[in-house]
Symmetry: C2
């Protein structure tokens, strides 16, 4: 009788290849001291049995897993979703599995719970997508010793962090509008407790100040097209508003709608710039000039930073930013005369 029930183990491979299981282990782990001929025999046996090493057994003896835990909010917001997707691909390419722990809200308790779940799984490292201050606070609870990288987190905290350079993107966008001839640029901001939003406000302000332009009051909003629309309704009533930089593309969409309803043409009467370059931004009316973050680069830096911590325990250069690029379309023009 065959034992059809059991999956092949290392000893089965060893028997078939006529070696000891330790030699099989050496082949699997690319140890140098294995004769070429032996290596080939073992590899043939592995293939024949469709043997796959038992990760649990390996993890048990080495005390290490090939798992990275990610904590992310359960939202479909473009930025976080893109980041997550890019990171999963990058990690997969490096031979790590990614376990995602979704959280309904980014508060201290939820994040702590998600981090605990990952520690229970004994992940090699944790990535937290922590775009708000509440999320960043929760990280203070994470015990040292767990390799951890924050993405989109608090720039003022000393933890390892990778983020899009919001300020540079906002600066470029604002400068682009000023260069088109506008006296100043208004700003519709994302929620104040988001670091992304704060960084964009900062970049916008510094571009205005650098140009000696007046700094109008910030229009506070959340990320939704709805709130952009409300802000736009106000902006559309003020004749002196000729240029608006929005903290993301959905806000811009709302502003575009408000302008359109009020009879203001974009870019003839008002110029608008967004942030994110969502896939449909090229098909807004008019096609939206916007700032495109490089999520793949952020994911890559994040993975690198995490792997450094996993292998070395420490890391040089624990803060990395990735510069975004300005995508020019048709929503920017000179101010009306």
């Amino acid at each position: 009788m065959e034992k059809t029930s059991r999956e092949p183990a290392m000893t089965d491979v060893a028997r078939l290849a006529g070696v000891s299981h330790q030699t099989v282990s050496r082949v699997l782990n690319n140890h140098p001291n294995v004769r070429e001929q032996t290596r080939l025999r073992v590899q043939a046996a592995i293939k024949e049995l469709d043997y796959r090493p038992n990760r649990a057994a390996r993890a048990l003896v080495t005390g290490k897993t090939q798992l990275i835990g990610v904590v992310a909010q359960n939202s479909t917001l473009y930025g976080p979703a893109s980041l997550l997707s890019a990171f999963e691909e990058a990690a997969g390419g490096a031979g790590f599995a990614v376990s995602v722990g979704r959280v309904k809200v980014l508060d201290r308790d939820s994040i702590a719970a998600a981090v605990e779940r990952h520690r229970d799984q004994r992940v090699a490292g944790i990535v937290v997508i922590a775009p708000t201050s509440s999320a960043a606070d929760a990280l203070a609870d994470v015990p040292a010793g767990v390799p951890l990288v924050t993405v989109d987190g608090d720039p003022d905290r000393p933890t390892p962090l990778v983020t899009v350079d919001q300020a540079v993107g906002a600066f470029d966008a604002t400068k682009h509008l000023l260069d088109a001839g506008h006296d100043t640029v208004w700003h519709v901001s994302g929620p104040a407790d988001w670091f992304d939003a704060a960084g964009r406000v900062e970049g916008w302000r510094s571009a205005l100040e650098a140009a000696g332009a007046e700094v109008p009051p910030v229009m506070a909003a959340d990320w939704s097209a709805a709130s952009g629309y409300r802000a736009g309704q106000m902006l559309a009533r003020m004749p002196e508003v000729t240029a608006v930089f929005c903290s993301n593309d959905h806000l811009a969409l709302g502003v575009l709608r408000a302008m359109s309803e009020r009879g203001k043409k974009v870019p003839h009467d008002v110029s608008v710039v967004g942030f994110d370059d969502v896939s449909e931004a090229a098909y807004f009316i008019p096609p939206l000039t916007t700032v495109r973050p490089d999520f793949a680069a952020v994911a890559h830096e994040t993975l690198g930073l995490l792997l450094e911590q996993i292998s070395d325990g420490e890391t040089t250069r624990p803060r990395r930013t990735v510069a975004p690029s300005l995508v020019k379309r048709e929503s920017v023009g000179p101010p009306p005369r």
Copy 2:
């Protein structure tokens, strides 16, 4: 000297509580035959040491993991992204970790490779988000014996499948337009190799046939606003077009733009309905009437189906559909006279 380096193991807890490690195991696994007093002592010891069971050791001896693998495409398309997010949350709630394997393209080789990676990890089950025929074909390669559920996959294949009822959603949307008084409804379809798109075409057609309406040719597109715009440019030139059902909201956005450029007012001259209810759909110009799939329900059904297979090996009722709902906004009106 203390061994500060090692994490506490079951024997450490046992020593502290004055019992054997087996008793600790019993407490952890809620075995009935443990005295209440003993249970409390053990639990106190667990808490004091901040002991957490080693999953690798458990997996090694039981041969089972608490891991579910998901294969998904690396895209930010609204449907798949929402599905994934909802599933991660549902699985997390059931005590399963979710390992996501991203794939650049949904072809046979990529999916097979992703499934292999998950099998290497010895996941308890696999979910494949397989919205295209190329993806569905790849599933033929997956060996039987691995619990597997397809989401958004091929309705004509006998594998366990959960999907949004595309046909019902499209039927309702089309009927809504017919009920508003339109003679017929045109359709801008997603890519033909997507089951979602095919199901929506089917629902649209059957609604027209049920009403005895003429069935106009399908306008083929991909999912992008760009292709919706191109289709819209053609539709806008045809005076007899008064109602359009788009296979998703982004296509609808493109159509809206094309209509607007051509001077056609929505809903006065043309009515438009989308599918997906993306978060910004309420802020299109005009707010878009659309079909909302219930992703949480799909995720829940998927998890249920998978867990059934994991525990029983088989499943009753291996095909489940979730009915979407029509969200009425302002993009539908009676035809112009």
